[in-house]
Symmetry: C2
Subunit: 206 residues, 2 copies
Amino acid sequence: MKVLIVDDHPVVRAGLRALLSATGEFDVVGEAEDGATAVRLAASLRPCVVLMDLQLGSGVDGVTATRQIMALDSPPKVVVLTTYDSDADILRAVEAGATGYLLKESPPEELFAALRTAWSGEMALSPPVASRMMRRVRAPQLALSQREIEILELIAAGRSNREVSRMLFISEATVKTHLAHVYDKLGVDSRTAAVKAAVDRRLIRL
Amino acid sequence: MKVLIVDDHPVVRAGLRALLSATGEFDVVGEAEDGATAVRLAASLRPCVVLMDLQLGSGVDGVTATRQIMALDSPPKVVVLTTYDSDADILRAVEAGATGYLLKESPPEELFAALRTAWSGEMALSPPVASRMMRRVRAPQLALSQREIEILELIAAGRSNREVSRMLFISEATVKTHLAHVYDKLGVDSRTAAVKAAVDRRLIRL
DNA sequence: GCGCGGGTCATCCGAAAGGTTGATGTGCGA
DNA sequence: TCGCACATCAACCTTTCGGATGACCCGCGC
């Protein structure tokens, strides 16, 4: 199975290449350290599966790269391999077209299994990720909407309501309304407390 | 050269093992996924060098594990391999007795070189790390005082100025004065932005 | 002694944030 | 088709925050 590795850490790339190659089952046809290279190599090398880290140091991030790869002709499957299991990351990755989402804390066997599953076209989620998604559908009143997460992330980045409103092309009143809903759902009454609560519950990442 | 790998991510561990073993120069004699195991294996396996990640998921963190390993009889060298190059992390690791500090974004050759250098007893710092150290000795005025950090941590926990003032038995005016100094030092103009800046620079933890 | 940084406090004011209520439109599933 | 969640906006009001001052005390180093 032809695999393309995308990670901004050379050590991790080399490690993954060695790990996958040793099985004999996987053939690492290329490596990319940034999003642009990833898209280019995905188009030219035509791998079966792209193993994608979400945290790429500079330039295009993993989600954008995934979206661009899925826009190719007969695109490969994309399996996200990352450190964090925040709602925001998972949602964006799946929305961008990722066929799998697993954590670096997973055992290697799970990685192999996820690559096989993804290649067959099935969605491959590691247990912690799957349980997060389950909790999300079971308790939708505690979950923030994508818009609310989007706004809360900008708040967490230190932006004012006005800045957020301009960045999202909406009115300041709307930002305040969304934030009021966020405060209500998280049981807090200030932006800073909301950020902490959201980080604690892994709804966003700082 | 006998190496012990300490990292909480099985995928990274397996990758590093494959990478190091492939050189023929390094012999991975063991792996540990947490600090306690790391100390135990360092004592029983007697590796030449311990390759230590600072971010261990649960239990003892990498700095503490390093300190405990250095307290052993004829301890091995400890080389820190981590993602972040924050002042606080570097200082704590070196203070704990680490002989090397390199980033996961370094090329594999640098990793090999650092292991050799550390084994020979020399300090091995990757270039970005070394430059951070240099900047720190040149610009010590960027550091927050203990009191300022104490207040900023409460702010990061979502407390209001009034709550902080009552928790620290000082007036609200004093809290505001301290915060104004913090904003000035961090180059921001709101509490949320200050929290983000401080977390980014590892001045506080969330 | 004097300067300097740190910690403490106060006042005044404008800007920002938060609470409340109510309204409109859209999409989706029962 | 009827709700319901979501996203959008507005007006009003209170509280909080942030900026600009100025002041006092303490410990430390030159």
